[in-house]
């Protein structure tokens, strides 16, 4: 063939479409960009977009379809950990490649997956450390609030272990889960208020995912829980999610990511401009009027570029050759640092930023790591993980 096919596997309908649709668009933009510069190995990239419709079994089916039927060389896709877990066996069985662009809970390493989002130590742990710092408000009590599924559960397990190691008592930790799509946070916020009124400085760590964030933040605002009293740090709330929220009452609440749209540097300015132009040209609903970028978009962008570099280095799209070539790839990321693909663990070295919500829905970076952090997918705070090597098994 005179083109190289790449699969794009993001939900364009269903509950996750809110977050995932834009990743498909960014992927298409990046592919356009690469093609405009002559493609890869002299061939144009041909995107194959499918819609797994927020339905986890359908993810697996569509992955099969992309690999078997369309014979794609690589797939960029998935958001939730469930969807990733559902397609994982397919990629391993067919020995194909997946680039996964979202922060996740770790405790997984597949040789067929490259994780371009954050591992817990690249997001969750630094965020909590910040909360405990003087600037972060010296929090002593923590509410771990999340959507009930593997990512929040595992992240909170790691955080609990981490907090314990820092001397926080179990009584000072409250853990709460709500189902996907939960929309009435009255009782939970009342509970948080009660918990925080009972003692020392309290902070909330939110791993609420998807739709629930809007009602959560609205209720937070209305119940008068201000960031100066009880700050909330979220791991799944970015610029795109805040689009749906009136941010004025939320000023000062926090999010931890490896990228913010508000980061000022030329690479990011170019990235934002490229996206704005693309969104306008393609008439992408929402973004054509108010273009926004966020962390998973950046991760998608980095992933596609790195894959391209690796293919060029390997001079082949063969899975094993590309995997080998991926090790140590670098890319100047919009986040302002040069991201490096770890030589072994399939994760990027990423900087960590903590941002506070501004009235306009953007984030003020109030804290950042001095440089990129190496991912630790098997968090050492969990006793059982000691000795787990951060290297995928070669079969």
């Amino acid at each position: 063939a005179d083109t190289i096919k790449v699969g794009i596997l993001h939900s364009l309908s269903g509950t996750m479409a809110i977050s995932e649709t834009v990743l498909k668009d960014v992927a298409l933009m990046t592919i356009d960009e690469i093609n405009a510069k002559g493609g890869v190995l002299g061939k144009k990239l041909e995107p194959v977009v499918v819609d797994p419709a927020s339905n986890w079994p359908l993810f697996a089916e569509k992955a099969k379809q992309l690999i078997d039927q369309d014979k794609v060389s690589v797939v960029f896709g998935c958001w939730t950990s469930v969807s990733r877990k559902s397609v994982l066996p397919v990629f391993e069985e067919k020995n194909s490649l997946l680039f996964y662009p979202v922060q996740y809970e770790g405790e997984e390493l597949s040789k067929n997956v490259f994780y371009t989002g954050a591992a817990p130590n690249q997001q969750a742990i630094p965020a909590v450390e910040y909360l405990m710092s003087k600037d972060g408000g010296s929090a002593k009590r923590f509410v771990l609030l999340g959507t009930d599924y593997v990512y929040p559960r595992t992240t909170n397990k790691i955080l609990r272990a981490f907090l314990k190691s820092k001397g926080v008592a179990d009584a000072d930790i409250m853990e709460e889960y709500t189902p996907f799509g939960h929309s009435d946070y009255q009782s939970i916020i009342a509970k948080i208020k009660k918990f925080s009124s009972e003692g020392k400085k309290t902070a909330v760590v939110s791993t609420i995912n998807g739709d629930s964030n809007v009602p959560f933040y609205k209720e937070l605002g209305n119940q008068g829980l201000k960031a100066t009293d009880v700050p909330v740090v979220a791991f799944s709330v970015g610029e795109e999610e805040l689009r749906g929220v009136d941010t004025k009452p939320l000023v000062g609440h926090l999010a931890a990511w490896n990228y913010f749209m508000s980061i000022k540097n030329p690479t990011n300015a170019a990235f934002i401009k490229q996206w704005s132009d693309y969104a306008k040209a393609k008439g992408i609903a929402g973004h054509k009027d108010k273009p926004l970028t966020n962390d998973p978009m950046e991760a998608t962008y980095i992933g596609i570029h790195m894959w391209k570099q690796a293919v060029e280095k390997a001079k082949s799209t063969d899975t094993d050759k590309v995997i080998a070539a991926m090790a140590g790839q670098t890319f100047k990321a919009p986040g302002g640092f040069t991201s490096t693909m770890d030589k072994e663990n399939h994760h990027l070295h990423k900087p960590v930023f903590i941002g506070e919500v501004k009235a306009d829905g953007q984030f003020n970076v109030v804290w950042k790591t001095p440089g990129p952090v190496v991912a630790d997918p098997w968090s050492d705070y969990i006793a059982e993980n000691k000795g787990k090597k951060n290297v995928p098994e070669k079969k």
């Binding site: 479409a17 939960h182 009602p215 999610e241």
Partner: protein, 527 residues
Amino acid sequence: MKLLRTLTFALACLAPAVHALTPEQAAAIASGETDARIEALNQAAAAGDAQLPGFVRALLDGEVKVLDGRVFQMQGDKVVVAGTAQAVELPEAAEDVVNNNRMRGALEAALGALKLVSPEAKVRAEAIEELRKQTLDESQLPLIEKAWAAESDAGLKSRLELMRATILISSSDVAKRLAAAQALSASSEPAVKSLLQERLAPGVETDAAVRGALTTALDAVEGKLAWGERLGVLFTGASLGSILLLVALGLAITYGLMGVINMAHGELMMIGAYATFVVQNLFRQYLPGAFDWYIVLAIPVSFLVSALVGAALERSVIRWLYGRPLETLLATWGISLVLMQGVRSLFGAQNVAVENPAWLSGGVQVLSNLILPYNRLAIIVFAFLVLGAVTLMINRTRLGLFVRGVTQNRRMAACVGIPTARIDTYAFSLGAGIAGLAGCALSQVGNVGPDLGQGYIVDAFMVVVTGGVGQLAGTVYAALGLGVLNKFLEGFAGAVLAKIMVLVCIVVFIQKRPQGLFAMKGRSAEA
């Protein structure tokens, strides 16, 4: 630590101001490491600076920018260099001052202490509110006492008195402790509860009389807090119930009366919410001054838009399906897919932001541990207004009579001279319009996105069916009942288990009442 400084600052403020803020001081407060900035703030405060409050407020409002150590403060249209009156052109490269939470806290505390001596009672009340959230210690006593002595408003005075007591409770003077303990029984603060508990911990308070007073006070406080909690459950339940009611009302018409298993009901709500969004944007663009009142227009617009979509659906699809309820399920399911994808294409797959008008943000503090958010209060009122209107229209008007007649026996209704096609369209549009109103209300508490409707459709059917199909009164009781039950259970079982229990309750309840809460009895039920 922070308050100690605040205190000095406030005390200083009680004296006439002598110093003026210098540009250097402003720069030190506005930029640099947080520690240093707070230090600078406190120094400026200690100096009793007259311009400081304005500057602090500007910092909090994000109206201060810096560039190379120069600090610019926005004052309306013009820009001045902070600490001077000199108006300047704002340099292109000037950057926003970044305040983290700690800095913001310090700024607010500074401002709060200042307000404590304001001549306006309202401002003082705000300041007391600020102070209430802090942990006080003996070093703040002079400030509190001073403010207390000067306070003229009886309500504020008693609040200051309570604050004083929270400090004196750990005084070394037994008599003072006793008096404080007695005074504290008037409090309804959760913080006071933990304070009293701490004092009662073994070995902390040794004097028996004081311990007795502490126990009494603790009981009193706990009693008041318990009330707040109980009322809170009731309110949250009522609030959830009112939302369920709004969501179910439209369905009570399209499904309960007309027999259309309207799976697109949720999408009609979604359309109402998007209509609200569009109205909001139009206001923002063309009538920014009246922005707070956009909702007043959004209500009729969301009704109309959804009603029109409903009318179009009725005319094109539903009307061919009367008497075949299960077919309506299939067709409306298809319609809902199309509508959802439609807004995705039109507005994007992401959620859109609908802002609460200022008067619907925040809430009224009823008890120390009970805030009733305005938007939820408004929705409760709104739900009942809509309910009243629907009830009147269904039961008291000729149109309502025709609707009920037509939906029972379409053919015969035509044979007594009712233009059934038109009545059907009206009825369906009305149901759709009410769905639109529900969407408008939901936009004030939740997501506005393509999936908005999906989250409510199951609940809506549960409510209508639990209440008894075709029974408005049943719908009301079911909505409120399920709302309160849900919130009550959530109190000790958590959100997920509570919801499961509610569902199980519904299943069990229907066993007892196979036709819903307000079952139609007798022969007419079979007709």
